[in-house]
């Protein structure tokens, strides 16, 4: 990468372009092909920490949920929670296998698509398998999967940390129906529907606890870039759900490496006074 702050050291782009175009007239070298969904910036970031991309890999799973499960009951909707947990872990183990057989040590920038339907839960993972340049293959269980972008992965490694895998926790809980007398009594008041609030808290606690348990099982010290999806289930009037997932990390070096970032004033961005994207 050229240093854009010192124009003197800049490559002569025009001659590079001529060289590139002229090179296409020659025969191909016939080296091993690779596939990747990374951008050139991400690839350069990977390369700067001594890693390279190998192959586009995916893992999918669909788990069935018993019909009618969402409408009546008490406490946690175990069938749905377990379908979600298993769909995630099956999809993860499939992407592990694909990555390992392609020679990858990990998968970065994993795009996670999950959807919960009344009768099934679907999870689909897609990312690029990566490895230290030229490194020999590892076993599927040693592969790590992370939804961090290649850029964040590089940053994490430079700071002395390593990603260990994805952790996910989900819980679906019934919000019990109020008694008829309560409904009538409360009909003319503004009231908190404690049945829904409590169901939200119950599902939040179970889901976060499950994610944490997965993180500890991977011998991680924390989970970064946690995504949270919560709220009532659109297809059921008395059920709420909470799902959280993120990348499990651990300190790989003796201590956290201070990065001392250099401050720059960017001249090309509009002024943003407040960024409300947190926890979005």
């Amino acid at each position: 990468m050229t240093d854009s702050t010192s124009p003197g050291s800049r490559l002569d782009l025009k001659s590079e372009v001529r060289r590139a175009v002229a090179s296409l007239e020659q025969k191909t070298t016939g080296s091993a092909s690779s596939t990747s969904d990374l951008s050139i910036d991400e690839e350069l970031n990977l390369h700067s920490i001594g890693w390279e991309q190998v192959e586009l890999v995916s893992g999918v799973s669909v788990f069935s949920v018993p019909a009618g499960l969402w409408n009546w009951g008490q406490g946690e909707i175990l069938g749905a929670s377990s379908a979600h947990a298993q769909a995630f872990s099956h999809a993860i183990s499939r992407i592990h296998k694909e990555a390992a057989s392609a020679g990858g040590h990990g998968v970065v920038g994993v795009r996670i698509e999950r959807s919960v339907h009344p009768s099934h839960v679907e999870v689909s993972l897609l990312g690029t398998a990566v490895r230290p340049i030229g490194a020999p293959p590892v076993k599927p269980e040693e592969v790590f999967v992370s939804d961090l972008s290649a850029r964040d992965f590089a940053l994490l490694m430079i700071a002395g940390w390593q990603p260990l895998g994805l952790a996910c926790g989900a819980s679906f809980v019934y919000a019990p129906r109020r008694q008829m007398s309560a409904v009538l009594q409360q009909s003319s008041q503004n009231i908190e529907l404690t049945n829904f609030t409590e169901a939200m808290y119950a599902s939040r606690e179970s889901a976060m606890e499950r994610m944490q348990r997965m993180a500890i099982a991977l011998k991680g010290t924390g989970v970064v870039q946690v995504n949270v999806v919560e709220g009532p289930m659109p297809f059921a009037t008395h059920a709420v759900g909470f799902a959280a997932w993120g990348t499990v990390v651990r300190l790989a070096k003796q201590s956290h490496q201070l990065l001392h970032p250099q401050m720059v004033v960017s001249m090309n961005d509009a002024v943003v006074a407040f960024d409300a994207e947190t926890l979005a």
Partner: protein
């Protein structure tokens, strides 16, 4: 057009005139000039195709009662998996068989449409004396009755002044502007855009149907173990690896970069799916070694 790459006379006249058109944004245009790529014209290619209706309707019909008595006979070498009903004769409507199979006729239609449109764009670029086509945009739309697809591909043809006409035809890339500059600076030459599509049809077996509608018999009890829908998982996995392998076959030792994979699914009846992943990316070739990369310098933007 009988000959897929013959240009209309009017197009040849237009392309011969001494002004250029370009689909690039101003910043991409400026970056191209900076790289020494001179825009010469907007190259375009179109092609409308239709899958033979006999094959299309035989396989796109509704699930459930519309299914035939026995599974489909798949040609050798294509992906196929059969699922047997474990129940025996339950009723005439019971799904006695289930099958996943690759649909090469859909893939062939798609390939024909894309390849023709691509060849026509490249032909226009060649007529313009271009070395390459940058900032390619492609689109597929469904028109009229089922099974008809219209492909359009266009991009800005560029020339490197002073270089001879390329013997293998112009190179093409989805990239333009700064992203193209970075690829070249990193030591890669753009070769061509790559697109591939695979198509897998799922005829749900009785078990798959029950699982997808949530009426799997073992699961009525609250807390019972949930069950994976193996047939669907298998079809989705196969569709994804098929499309990747098709793209790989076009690489010939080059790298496929910046891939975008979109999976389109259509459900005809419970568990009866048509899965169609479309993969697109840039084929690039290394023309010089990576410079040893410095560890990136971290910055905090005060904005």
């Amino acid at each position: 057009m009988s000959e897929p790459t013959k240009l209309p006379d009017v197009a040849e006249g237009r392309l011969a005139a001494s002004s250029f058109s370009s689909g690039l944004s101003v910043s991409d245009f400026a970056a191209c000039i900076d790289m020494g790529l001179e825009p010469v014209g907007l190259a375009q290619g179109y092609c409308a195709v239709r899958t033979a209706s006999s094959v299309y309707f035989a396989n796109a019909q509704q699930g459930g009662l519309g299914r035939s008595i026995s599974p489909f006979q798949v040609s050798a070498g294509d992906y196929v998996e059969n699922y047997q009903c474990p129940h025996g004769m339950v009723s005439a409507e019971h799904r006695m068989w289930g099958q996943n199979y690759q649909q090469p006729w859909i893939e062939a239609t798609w390939k024909q449409g894309f390849t023709n449109a691509y060849a026509r764009m490249v032909k226009e670029a060649t007529t313009l004396g271009a070395h390459g086509v940058v900032g390619v945009v492609d689109n597929v739309s469904r028109i009229g009755q089922e099974g008809i697809l219209e492909f359009s591909i266009r991009g800005t043809a560029v020339r490197v002044p002073g270089l001879g006409v390329p013997s293998g035809g112009p190179w093409t890339t989805y990239l333009a502007g700064q992203r193209l500059a970075k690829i070249i600076e990193a030591g890669f030459a753009p070769v061509s855009i790559v697109a591939a599509v695979s198509s897998v049809r799922v005829w749900a077996s009785c078990i798959t149907e029950y699982l997808m509608e949530g009426s799997g018999m073992t699961m009525w009890v609250q807390g019972a173990e949930s069950t994976e829908v193996e047939q669907i998982v298998s079809a989705r996995t196969a569709a994804r690896s098929l499309v990747r392998d098709m793209a790989r076959q076009q690489l010939q030792g080059d790298q496929l970069h910046g891939v975008e994979l979109r999976v389109r699914e259509h459900e005809y009846a419970k568990g009866d799916l048509e899965i169609q992943p479309v993969l697109r990316g840039n084929r690039i070739r290394r023309f010089k070694d990576f410079d040893p990369m410095p560890v990136p310098r971290l910055t905090v933007r005060l904005s």
